[in-house]
């Protein structure tokens, strides 16, 4: 016997959560794009797509975030911080890969200096993931010690029942438990059959890859140049990635006042590391692609013990020149360590 949330109760749940002061988010698809967005009704959800075009990162680390407002006066400059928003949210229908991505970035944003915007949003959000019953050619969670039903980063994991009838509820954290208390009476016990989770074939052997990456000699391998020759440095892989977290800080305003903001930035951009002297440590696109791969699978785990990739595959899915982590790691796994 398991606890089940039936699909026809979902609207009710949403209403309860909303009544309890939670904003409900979930995968939403429009004519042009799918993403995680605020919804009001169950019919707003898009559970059909494999995963939203844009990652869950948007909800925790927006592309542009005002940090403080400054007002320039004659003899002083007044500043006023933008407090991190504290509205309570429930993100219903997150993909396990996206949820894992959040967990990955928790380690970075919680390391040493605590990023209050990220942490506040994480604290105020309940992540309700739905295990994937669909996958496409680009999904690679299984290659990264994750799976379509991984619970990492989720507060509640839902397993779809057959015929879209509903979901089996698995509360994982206190936060998740609390959120589901509000709808406890809408849940039913049952033993309906669970839909099989998506098959995501393993695309490469991660350990082999990591070993190769960790080998100092391979840093200068001409493999890097070959694999990244067609990279145009657009950076959309990093912007869609649920775990890429680099940012820039910019002041924008006029003579009298302005706002200091945190904007996404990307290691794919030539200017990212350019010194004012003109020296650029990563002057070529291959160096930048190498950095991205190294950072995700060597440097980041070296520091935080977790790969900075949750296997969503958005990088490859979207790449204008059909590159991506999968191709690179597949090739690496065939190389001599």
């Amino acid at each position: 016997m398991t606890r089940i949330l039936f699909s026809d109760k979902l609207d009710n749940c949403i209403a309860r959560w909303r009544a309890a002061g939670l904003t409900v988010f979930g995968p939403v698809k429009t004519d042009t794009l799918s993403s995680y967005a605020a919804i009001e009704h169950a019919s707003d959800f898009d559970f059909e797509s494999v995963l939203p075009d844009r990652s869950i990162k948007d909800l925790f680390f927006p592309q542009t975030e005002p940090m403080l407002r400054y007002t320039i006066k004659k003899r002083a400059i007044d500043t006023e911080d933008f407090a991190p928003p504290n509205d309570k949210r429930i993100i219903f229908g997150a993909r396990p890969c996206d949820a894992s991505g959040l967990a990955i970035d928790d380690s970075l944003f919680g390391w040493d200096y605590k990023d209050e915007y990220w942490i506040q949003r994480r604290n105020e959000s309940v992540i309700v993931s739905i295990a994937c019953t669909k996958a496409d050619d680009f999904c690679l969670c299984s290659s990264l010690n994750l799976a379509p039903d991984s619970s990492t980063g989720s507060d509640v994991l839902l397993r779809p029942l057959e015929n879209n009838k509903g979901w089996v509820v698995e509360e994982l954290t206190d936060r998740g438990h609390e959120a589901f208390l509000a709808i406890a009476e809408l849940l039913q016990d049952g033993s309906d059959p669970i839909a099989p989770i998506a098959a995501v074939p393993e695309k490469f052997d991660l350990d082999t890859c990591v070993a190769w990456l960790q080998n100092h000699d391979n840093f200068e391998s001409k493999f890097w140049k070959e694999i990244s020759m067609r990279c145009i440095g657009c950076g959309s892989c990093t912007y869609l990635c649920p775990t890429c977290h680099c940012f820039d800080i910019q002041d924008e305003g006029d003579t009298y006042s302005g706002i200091r903001r945190k904007n996404w930035d990307s290691c794919s951009f030539a200017l990212f590391t350019m010194h004012t002297s003109g020296h650029n440590p990563r002057a070529t696109q291959s160096a930048r692609w190498r950095q991205r791969i190294m950072h995700k699978f060597n440097y980041f785990p070296g520091k935080f013990n977790v790969n900075s990739c949750s296997g969503c595959g958005r990088c490859s899915r979207q790449c204008p020149v059909d590159m991506g982590i999968t191709e690179t790691l597949q090739k690496i796994s065939t190389l001599q360590p």
């Binding site: 067609r230 912007y239 990307s266 020149v321």
Partner: protein, 276 residues
């Protein structure tokens, strides 16, 4: 298939005779209908060349990769007619020497992929002139038609919605063969003309300025549109600019290697009906 085989053979001939150091073409991508750029330097790689109607990306941008052409060796490249026009513009703007470029022209407009006659950019001038004669397609796209029917407020609302999604990844710029500047205007920060933040205002500014910079230069290859990770229909903006310079100044981008940039030249009789 015939064209593909023909070109594979030709690529090998050129490689064998050292007439080119590399040929930029397409190969099978990660899914059935995806093609990815391929840099052919060997016979083995030549055998990977694919040419079919899925070969849509304009590869011309790779030619301005720093250092690629500086050794004065020749490079071959697979191009559709728009791509050839890009070559002409890049040549007109002194970004490359067209004599270094061997073109494998192809046309995917019919059912079969058709090879285009010629190997040097100038060989295709007749073809490009004939393209110019065909009036630019107006509102052939349902969405474009819808935009055209909107009033100003509705158009603003439409583009506001589109641009609100922009994440300022600059994929449009990176994918564009015409965006070869060493430093993009958006990266010029003294002053910071364009807000780099990706709020809608900054996104408007970026897209306006990019479209303006492409006016009379965009060949409509669609690279930007396809590269956009948030599916902003950038092609319409650039197409409207192309239509404007065509109608106002009889300018069709990329007709020749000596074409003057439309915004660096003028005609004393240019229309000025809008000027008070």
């Amino acid at each position: 298939m015939i064209t593909q085989e023909k070109y594979r053979t030709r690529v090998k001939e050129l490689l064998a005779s050292n007439s080119v150091k590399m040929v930029i073409g397409y190969k099978q991508g990660s899914t059935a209908d995806r093609r990815r750029p391929l840099f052919v330097r060997s016979f083995e790689e030549a055998d990977e060349l694919v040419l079919d109607s899925n070969c849509i990306g304009n590869l011309a941008g790779y030619l301005v990769t720093e250092g690629l052409l500086s050794d004065e060796k020749r490079v071959g490249i697979f191009l559709r007619p728009e791509g050839i026009r890009s070559i002409n513009i890049l040549a007109a703007e002194s970004q490359l020497n067209p004599e270094q470029i061997i073109i494998f022209g192809f046309d995917t407009s019919g059912r079969e992929v058709k090879a285009l006659q010629g190997e040097q950019a100038e060989d295709f001038s007749g073809l490009i002139d004939s393209l110019k004669e065909k009036p630019p397609e107006k509102s052939s796209d349902a969405l474009l038609y819808r935009i055209d029917q909107m009033n100003t407020e509705e158009r603003f609302a439409f583009w506001k919605d589109e641009f609100s999604r922009c994440i300022k990844c600059y994929a449009c710029r990176q994918a564009c063969p015409m965006c070869y500047c060493r430093r993009c205007i958006v990266d010029s920060n003294q002053p910071q003309w364009i807000n780099t933040s990706s709020h809608t205002l900054g996104n408007f500014e970026w897209n306006i300025v990019r479209a303006f910079h492409l006016a009379g230069r965009c060949v409509g290859c669609g690279n930007c549109d396809r590269a956009c990770p948030v599916n902003i229909p950038l092609r319409f903006i650039n197409a409207r600019m192309a239509q404007e310079v065509f109608e106002s100044f009889d300018h069709y981008a990329g007709t020749s290697q000596t074409q003057e940039p439309v915004l660096a030249s003028f005609n004393k009789d240019d229309s000025e009906t809008f000027i008070l």
